[in-house]
């Protein structure tokens, strides 16, 4: 039987995840993911290696970001293409030369969408298992796109029961002895920890990871940095190797999502194929997710009278909805302050075992 334990944030005095269950479910069911637009956030727009002399174009909520490196190697993020001599008025998101705040960390180019003066490096999310100055080999990096809105993609990610069905051929099916889900949150993050006892071994670990057993103990963590639309997906498997995935979902437009992922498999033995195959599994897994999230997305575009139905397994997803909505509401009231620190090392929260 499923057990759910809740660890509500203690610090915030106006925690949107109220103790009143009716208010909570009203918020869950008023979910309008396409209407959410969060600013004053760093978005991981590109892998560092993908940005060079020639400008590449990225977007956040259709707002253009042209990224290139100046002669000193520093990244420039501009609203207009440097060759666009007729460029018109600029938005409130850039300085007088049309440049956004930009920085590089963890092997990504992060662009700030919001009031430029508020851009501060301490709002870059903590990703314990990515080297701060990047440099992961290319086979651990990749790009996939989702034909759906970014919050739906993240709601999909934080709900792991779906993996037992649509990713069964990669990560194993729903057969196990028991499962526990724990959810932690603050005003800027939500973290879900799923512990499975004697779960069917992930086929990809059987095939390429050298795992011989039929069942394994699994502890999976999904931690979402709400504003940046970026997630950590950290899995501990025994027997098996830990999986260390950074999974941003940049809302390039409201119904299309860009995922420049980094799967750090340097913890896996060099002789183990899993080290090279696992990062590539993202191509397959993302298509499987897309098969559901793509038809889902338009069904969340308009207000819907019929409420979604929920099971106790949906706790994390429901809380994600409420937290995102609360942040959007706060921003609509003109409050863009970070009440919680997103860059503080979260190793303990996610239970990261340093190799």
């Amino acid at each position: 039987m499923l057990e759910i334990s809740d660890n509500p944030a203690t610090s915030a005095n106006d925690d949107p995840i109220t103790s009143d269950p009716r208010q909570f479910s009203a918020k869950v069911n008023a979910w309008m993911p396409h209407e959410i637009m969060l600013t004053d956030a760093w978005f991981p727009l590109a892998h560092s290696f993908a940005v060079d002399k020639k400008p590449v174009r990225r977007a956040v909520y259709s707002q253009p970001f042209y990224l290139w490196r100046g002669s000193d190697g520093q990244v420039i993020a501009a609203e207009n293409h440097p060759n666009d001599t007729l460029a018109g008025a600029k938005s409130e998101y850039t300085d007088e030369s049309g440049h956004y705040p930009v920085l590089e960390k963890y092997g990504y180019v992060w662009g700030w969408l919001g009031t430029p003066e508020n851009a501060a490096p301490e709002h870059v999310p903590s990703i314990p298992y990515l080297p701060e100055d990047g440099g992961l080999p290319l086979h651990m990096l990749g790009t996939v796109r989702f034909d759906c809105c970014a919050p739906l993609s993240l709601e999909n990610l934080i709900d792991l029961t779906h993996a037992d069905f649509i990713h069964a051929d990669v990560v194993g099916d729903e057969k196990m002895d028991s499962e526990t889900v724990e959810v932690f949150h603050d005003s800027e993050t939500i973290t879900m920890v799923r512990t499975c006892v004697n779960k069917s071994v992930a086929p990809i670990m059987k095939m390429f990871g050298g795992v011989r057993d039929d069942v394994q103990q699994v502890r999976q963590v999904i931690r979402i940095y709400l504003r940046s639309h970026a997630a950590i997906a950290y899995g501990r498997f025994s027997p098996g190797d830990n999986v260390q995935l950074f999974h941003p979902c940049v809302p390039e437009t409201r119904d299309r999502t860009r995922l420049d992922y980094a799967m750090n498999t340097s913890n896996v033995k060099k002789s183990n194929l899993f080290r090279y195959i696992m990062p590539k599994a993202s191509y397959k897994v993302s298509r499987q997710d897309s098969s559901m999230t793509s038809p889902q997305s338009p069904r969340y575009m308009r207000p819907e009278k019929r409420k979604d139905l929920h099971s106790p397994l949906d706790e994390a997803g429901q809380k994600y909805r409420v937290l995102m909505t609360a942040l959007a509401e706060r921003q609509a009231r003109g409050d863009f302050a970070y009440r919680d620190d997103v860059s503080a090392d979260c190793s303990d929260i996610i239970g990261y075992e340093k190799a």
């Binding site: 039987m1 499923l2 709900d159 029961t161 779906h162 037992d164 069905f165 649509i166 729903e174 028991s178 499962e179 098969s291 559901m292 038809p295 889902q296 069904r299 969340y300 019929r306 979604d308 139905l309 929920h310 099971s311 106790p312 397994l313």
Partner: protein, 307 residues
Amino acid sequence: MSEAIWWAVARSEEISAEKPFNVDIGDQPIVLWRETDGTVRALEDRCPHRRAPLSLGCILGSGAIQCGYHGWTFDGESGQLVDIPNLKSERKYPPVYKAKPFGVHESAGFVRICLDAKAPPPADDGYALPLSGTSTVALEHGQYIAALFDDPSLLISIKGVRFSPYLLAELCEQEGQLVMERSCQWASPHWPAPFTSDFPISLRIATDPVTGESDLTLRDDEFNLLLQATLAPVPGARQVTQVRWRAMLSPERPGLAAKAMGLGAPLRVHDHIDGAALRVLKPSASIHADDLREKIAARTDQQDEVA
């Protein structure tokens, strides 16, 4: 769209116990499948959990349908949620935990759906005509039927037959159906239709005023039946029309041209429509159809008031 209408959304052959099948009636997506005993089931093609299409799921041995996203499993008759596999419990779910069920009726090789699950089933239609097919056409349902009345050659081809613009009987109402009869020629060289005294064949079309489901009967001038067919157009998403059809060629067909109908497919229902020809198609019978439908509707309203 009134609720108690039975739409022929599929041919019997299209529905299996192996793979769910998706159709729509207007903007209402529907998933169809067969239980192991052959019963056809229909639910809204939208999982009430996270709105994924149920047609992407699978059919379990029990006959229930399982959503492919998180495995929620629904009973086909009631739409009731019967299992959430990850919960590993034998619990019963509250009655609101259900997908929307629709009425289903299968007869004569067609699967018909009524959006009102409680509607009384329609009468059985006899036997299934052996030839059948499905076409999806980028033309709105009402326009499709109008074109069928005004010039069927834009929508269908009958082997060796040329439809003429001349009607033997203009569209009228017979027993609640819209019926017309059109003169036809064999496609061999002959005197042009405007100068022809008598035509060798005729096509009778009897159409349901609401669904547009049409029975086609092709006879020669000695009243021998050559071909019969049923054409079932159903409005689909984005205003396309999904057409299911069944047909049978008569075994006895006197005359060379009629015999030649047996070589190859006797009936083809087009997937593509010549837009240029359609644009300039002169409306005639279709205008009468509108009048007749109004008359029929007014009469039904009166009857409803009396009842």
